[in-house]
Symmetry: C2
Subunit: 200 residues, 2 copies
């Protein structure tokens, strides 16, 4: 009982957040004490709003505040080009890069027989339907390079075989700025395999 | 506009917390999305409660949920022994150590002529009154070893001169486990000055 009860309660909530340990949660809770009343009000309002307003886009499964997400609503984007990703966090990563002008499809998981997650358990059926309605569909599979990611990539590749869908995956290789001699051997092996010709 | 508006708002609040940068705030906000409805409700309730319930103890200035803090209310503690500290965070630190059985006095600042903070601007008057009402008062000055801390320590020492108040300050020295050759020279100088006789 070091802390007053209400402070203890707030500390326990901060501790539920990822990467926030005991010590850090205490620091955050004590800092919260110095917030102005209006700030506290808006903070708890923001918490409530995020829960009540955010839902899934009907087309791509990304986070949205309406039926469709801002990206699916955007007429300036190429709706024939679909980047297939594991979860909505990847959307934010790609959007920050800012170079991608297509749309997304959020699988909300990866095929993982070990965890009893099959093709029916992820958001795949709607991708097939989506692609069927496009004139010149192109898919970019942007899944991680784990067994689950590669299994899912192969599965999607197979679904669209002989269906005139252009499919690519992200390149594997050396992260920018990384020291070659610190790289794990699998990455290095992939970088060798995916090597790019630069002579004319 | 990478994030939906309500999510952006929550990210901005997390960013106001100490040590939480852009990237981290995003991670916390996305994690918040996975909280259950009840959790979100209790979280925002906890935020409100901390603001409405927490006030200052009438005796010592520490955080309290009633007129007096739990420590000042505790009859098992030695109310003649007062540990004088800069802010309530120190109370939590001492309480975690768990060996201290006296009470506290929170100054809520330190004397700092450079910042125009004089003895009247910190919680000193109530300390003087408090000590006057005790039969065998003892003060432990636990202020940091900066110019402001030492100025305040000296000032308090002077106030209670010739008033039969036993006064001590925390020892300066080498932090436990620290390498001697990595210590700053001021700490080393203090450790030399405050050296403790161990021969009989």
């Amino acid at each position: 009982m070091v802390y007053p009860k209400s402070l203890e309660k707030l500390i326990n909530f901060y501790k539920k957040l990822p990467g926030i340990g005991e010590k850090n949660a205490e620091r955050l809770a004590l800092a919260t004490l110095n917030f102005k009343d209006e700030e506290i009000d808006s903070f708890s309002e923001a918490l409530q709003e995020v829960k009540s307003k955010i839902r899934k886009c009907k087309i791509c499964g990304h986070l949205a505040e309406d039926e469709l997400c801002d990206i699916c609503k955007d007429e300036n984007r190429d709706h024939n080009l679909i980047c297939v990703i594991e979860d909505y966090k990847s959307v934010f990563s790609f959007e920050k890069v800012g170079n991608y002008k297509g749309v997304y499809h959020v699988l909300n998981g990866l095929i993982s027989p070990a965890d009893n997650i099959g093709p029916d358990n992820i958001n795949l059926a709607s991708l097939i339907k989506r692609v069927e309605n496009l004139k010149k569909p192109e898919l970019i599979l942007a899944l991680k390079s784990t067994i689950e990611g590669e299994t899912t990539t192969l599965y999607i590749k197979k679904i669209f075989e002989n269906k005139k869908v252009l499919i690519s995956r992200l390149s594997y290789g050396i992260p920018m700025g990384a020291e070659i001699d610190y790289l794990d051997i699998i990455t290095l092996d992939k970088a060798l395999e995916d090597r790019k010709k630069i002579s004319e």
